[in-house]
Subunit: 415 residues, 2 copies
DNA sequence: ACGGGAACTGAATCGGAAC
DNA sequence: AGTTCCGATTCAGTTCCCG
């Protein structure tokens, strides 16, 4: 037998295959009580997967679950844990069952997995999270502390700075003899919280295999790393297309999963040829995007606009249209000439059809741009105007020349 | 009676005071079943607030809640909603009760309020969320759609795409005759999801009051705005120190809250006592001041200056002198006319002798200021220029009139 | 009033075409 | 050759409509 096995059948019979007290982690992703038949096709349209999530009432559903939970519990080691995946539809039912089977005192966490999602036309709030209940078998459970980076708002200096006591015993920052603040060495981060942002398996992800309700490998990775070590045994009683097994293999844990007939083959194929979506958003962090638009936010303070990401030439799309045409805006970047900025804006808006282009000029270079100005309006930033004002000797001359109504947006260039 | 009342007593008697079918929103923040006495002192240590959260067992707790829920429900209008705040300790109990009282079909959302928190050394995951169950009284509930920004990974084209039908009647993206995707104009954003990040320690209401388990005003603001309009009636049956009433007042909703003897005075002071009100105002003031100095930093980005505090007329003193004269600068504040701002700057610089005065104009009012301009230069802010640009119809005319070197700081007035 | 099925929504994401 | 950015695909989607 391999170290990663997808078994055809119902997990209620798991004790026929798996030894008592041998499992380190059970991750369950049972039907959510959606009262629907969940189904999906693979990309090629060659295979069709489905499972029934239809029940007479909640107690039938609860019965089904509790019978399996009772059979699964003895398989867990005393240091083992169980992670139960559900959503708001039946989370309260699951909580009650888990409390009764594993004991309230072994309830560790209510993990919130949340994600950004494409929206729909629902009245009310867009659902964007699912719940994972984390119970241990005993208080002496295995737990690997995972540290995360400090939030962006945390002051880096504060993280690094060492504390000491001054002559009066007050806590202050430690300083070297020459008065410089000392750094306390490597920062270890903040402990992982029970709220996890992990991208939803997006429509284009290669990781998708066509099994309905497929979970991202990244989610399983985190769970497995949290409560198991290498060579530990993971059990997924509702393993569907085998995501848990794929994650376990990647992380060098042994794993067993129970699934339906068609999905057994799918799982074995996945194990032989695993595909994991590495999220660029996760890797770079949301902050890297936000940073990009920080300058825009500052300059456009008070203007209604949509920030534009992932487009090197456009920083914002104004909510206010002009004559039915969208208004694109770019802010000249530091170290970029006005001309470069202008060209970049024009390139990016080339395919956008009829539109208005505005460049916010932030540097005071005085190159003649007249031949490039077609179709672009230039508005100077305040600091640009101020710079000009301060550096120009002949203020007297300007003063007289600028006697026109102040509402005229001056220094504006056009087609 | 006032529009915002803190009533001493148990909300079980709310029907003695409040009319049936009169309430638009009930927000409840009952004890969380922590099995502790929750207590806290105010900053000065002069007052001590506490409430008991000790119960014989869950059914005593459930009984307590359900009795009150049953009495509260008839007070709600048919278009009304109830938001039940709890945490993982008893969320499943609350769900069951709410389902039975308000009906599963009226369950709208499980809202996750999460926050960054300082770590503790507990084994396991750091708890960083609480749950708010949102139920409506009927399917025809009042709901104000709140939009949020698009994800950083959404591209412009996506934001602008229009829908149409293809030859088979299927819904697809609209295309022009030459196959290009058509713009539908900027859209409004993404609907608010059920996962809310709101800082736990809100500087506004923080610790000032000393009431345990106090909630941030920001959280209440969002809830109130989501399901009520101005003049609607908000009821908080466990209003503690009155955060809900404060938020309701701020948003011009009427509000009633039930609380304990010590807290009733606290709440009424917060609402009615001019001292307390002033302190709230002060905080608002401080915040808008911070806001403002932030704006100054942004506008003066790249300019060398010394910020000026404690002077209502001057925001900055530039490090760059002109002809040996100091340069004072003021940024027009929100809600202040250009004229007021001008006068304020002049008053504050009257005693400063020979100097240069610059006013950064941020609003687009077009009053003729010529007779007040003596000794002051006016430079428009970028957003002001942009506003002008967007609202001015005759862009063509300006275009031709502005054919002069861009380095000229235009729209500048002088002595 | 329901249950069920058909029609429709709309943005998040990344692959791969285009530059 | 690298980088940018277009657009296809998806819905533990929802709404609507009909019998």
């Amino acid at each position: 037998m391999g170290l990663h096995r997808a078994i055809l059948g119902d997990c209620i019979d798991a004790d026929k295959t798996i030894d008592l007290n041998s499992v380190d982690l059970i991750y369950l992703d049972p039907p959510f009580f959606t009262q629907k038949i969940q189904q999906q096709k693979n990309r090629e349209g060659t295979k069709h997967f489905s499972f029934h999530d239809l029940w007479a009432n909640d107690s039938e559903y609860a019965d089904y679950l509790v019978q399996r939970l009772l059979r699964l519990k003895p398989l867990l080691k005393d240091t083992g844990s169980i992670f139960f995946h559900c959503d708001k539809t039946a989370s309260h039912i699951a909580r009650l069952l888990l409390d009764s089977v594993f004991g309230e005192e072994n309830f560790c966490s209510e993990i919130i997995w949340y994600f950004k999602r494409w929206s729909n036309s629902k009245k009310g709030l867009l659902s964007a999270h699912q719940t994972i209940f984390f119970y241990s078998k005993s208080r002496d459970f295995k737990f690997n502390k995972i540290m995360q980076e400090y939030s962006a708002s945390t002051n880096v200096d504060q993280i690094m700075q060492k504390r000491a006591r001054d002559s009066k015993g007050k806590s202050v920052y430690a300083r070297s003899e020459d008065g410089k603040i000392l750094n306390g060495g490597a920062k270890k981060g903040v402990p992982l919280s029970d709220v996890w942002e992990i991208p939803f398996l997006n429509p284009k992800a290669k990781e998708r295999v066509g099994y309905p309700t497929q979970k991202p490998v990244l989610l399983l990775n985190r769970i497995i790393e949290l409560v198991t070590d290498e060579d530990d045994l993971v059990l997924d009683p509702f393993c569907g297309s085998g995501t848990t097994l794929v994650a376990a293999k990647q992380l060098k844990r042994r794993a067993i999963g129970y699934t339906s007939e068609d999905a057994v083959n799918l799982t074995n194929e996945r194990l032989a040829n695993p595909v994991v979506t590495t999220s660029t958003l996760m890797e770079n962090g949301r902050e890297s995007y936000n940073q990009h638009s920080k300058e825009a936010r500052e300059i456009l303070n008070g203007i209604d606009y949509t920030p534009v990401h992932r487009n090197s030439g456009i920083d914002a799309l104004l909510k206010h249209e002009i004559d039915g045409r969208p208004v694109f805006l770019r802010i000249q970047k530091q170290g970029e000439t006005t001309l470069d900025s202008l060209v970049s804006l024009k390139r990016s808006t080339k395919t956008k059809g009829e539109c208005i282009r505005i460049l916010i000029k932030t540097s005071a270079d005085s190159v003649d741009l007249s031949e490039y100005l077609e179709g672009v309006y230039i508005i100077p930033s305040t600091s640009c105007l101020l710079h000009d004002f301060l550096s120009t000797g002949d203020r007297q001359k300007q003063d007289t020349s600028s006697q026109k109504p102040s509402k005229t947006p001056a220094d504006l260039k056009s087609p």
